[in-house]
Amino acid sequence: MNTQEEVGEFTQIFNALMSLMRKFIFKVLCAGPIPNHVSFIMDGNRRFAKKHNLTGLDAGHRAGFISVTYVLQYCKEIGIPYVTLYAFGVDNFKRQPEEVECVMDLMLEKVEYTINQAVSGNLKGVRVYFVGDLNSLNERLRVAAQRLMEVTEENKDLMVVVCVAYSTSHEIVHAVRESCVRKCDGTGDDPVVLQVSDVEECMYTSVVPDPDLVIRTGGGDRLSNFMTWQTSRSLLHSTATLWPELGLWHLVWAILKFQRMHDYLQKKKKLD
């Protein structure tokens, strides 16, 4: 057996051992309560690119996508049913046009790659849903996103909600508008009054329950206009680690924190 084959075999054994160790860690973690919905504010891609002297406007975001695949794999293995990713905010459109275009092109590339994976049967139970003001995206990306949602519609193990062209303020205004127009279109002589449930039904993120745990990378202590309506009873966890550097242990630590506070969070939800 030559050196290359030996290295390949060693890598396979090493990966298999790592996978076994990871599954054992998750088995132990699952002895306690697991969050039903985890949201990620994926901050730090540009700083990662600067830190590692990567060239290209999308270099940091490419590294960020690799992190997305690992995090989703871990969440699926742990058994978390819903994951939300804050991929691109409405305010991010104010960045340099070249950077915005680059990020949109990268998103299109990754969406098309994911469609191929889904069609080949490699997505293994992952359903992808895009939420946000999708009309503000270019047509190719919008069509690709729609296609990805269609091909993964039947998957049931993990629902991944990708927030694109999203912000809470935009979401609230959109939901108020939608619910008002629906109320006006309704028939009957009853007085037309909006309830909280009418508006919440029309929110972009109405497809998922409220998050139990919000994890923000990059060291920021703010929500940056992300799900402020839905996170009244969420544990907000912040880590200085940049998104492309987020690993298994960061996720495990966040879930351990959630488990410590689970009784308190349940008590708060019951009070509601």
């Binding site: 002895a31 104010k94 303020s169 205004v173 703010r222 009244s232 009873r233 907000l236 506070m261 308190y264």
Partner: protein, 255 residues
């Protein structure tokens, strides 16, 4: 008992023992995590006392002008002890904070508004700032009392105002309301129902966990949220450290 039954029983015992083993390991991990929190709590307490005694020169001067509006979120169990809230407000006044929004989800602090305003020297309701002779103090502490009714309920009141305007308007048949329902309109409607729409720069959370506990969502967009621990164990040094850290934050607001 035949072989199959014995195998099933054995598998069941192994699964139960395995489950028990995992459970014990999980509890042990949480014990280690709790110990870590105790140790880091002690370190934080020591650091806080050092800051309060002025031993750390880094915190001797704070650019308080950067903090235009501070909000304090208090867990409802802790909001019952108003004396602690009053002490906190006095500390904030000493540091030089000029505007504080006090939030608890059930409005307990709103009910104690008169007591708080009567006890904290120089404090006035933020709505009264700007009225002539509202406070003899040159540097009043403007207080705002907020609860969950200022969150989703307030947005609904504002939304219903917009809805009534929309109903009364003459609009084309397939109109989707884009000209009636905008961020500016919602902001204005919130002001009409008596809500403050200004976003606090910094939100200090006093309670068991880092959560905004239902603070008005419309105002939380880019607010820095810092967990301060229990109000019963609040420390002046930790407060100074949190405000100092905020003054060093640079935000790009998504750009």
């Amino acid at each position: 008992m035949d072989l199959n039954q014995s195998m099933r029983l054995l598998s069941s015992w192994i699964a139960q023992i395995g489950g028990l083993g995992l459970d014990l390991l999980w509890r042990f991990i949480h014990l280690v995590v709790s110990l870590w929190y105790i140790v880091s709590g002690i370190i934080e307490a020591v650091e806080s006392y050092a800051i309060s005694l002025g031993l750390n020169k880094k915190y001797s001067s704070i650019n308080i002008e950067k903090l235009r509006c501070l909000a304090v979120v208090v867990d409802i169990e802790e909001a019952r002890d108003v004396s602690k809230v009053i002490e906190l407000l006095q500390w904030l006044r000493t540091i030089g904070v000029k505007q504080v929004g006090l939030f608890d989800s059930q409005g307990l602090l709103k009910k104690s508004k008169d007591m708080i305003l009567g006890t904290v020297p120089g404090s006035v309701l933020s709505e009264e700032i700007g009225e002539k002779n509202s406070s003899p103090d040159q540097n009043p502490l403007a207080l705002e009392f907020i609860s969950s009714s200022d969150n989703k309920e307030a947005v609904m009141k504002a939304a219903n105002i917009l809805l009534q305007d929309y109903l009364k308007s003459s609009r084309p048949e397939n109109d989707k309301g884009e000209n009636f329902f905008t961020e500016t309109h919602l902001n204005e409607a919130l002001r009409v129902v008596g809500e403050n729409v200004h976003a606090p720069d910094l939100l200090l959370v006093y309670g068991p966990i880092r959560s905004h506990l239902g603070f008005p969502a419309w105002r939380l967009r880019y607010t820095e949220i810092v967990h301060m621990g229990s109000l019963n164990y609040m420390r002046y040094g930790s407060l100074l450290k949190a405000i100092h850290k905020f003054t060093g934050v640079h935000q790009n607001y998504g750009t």
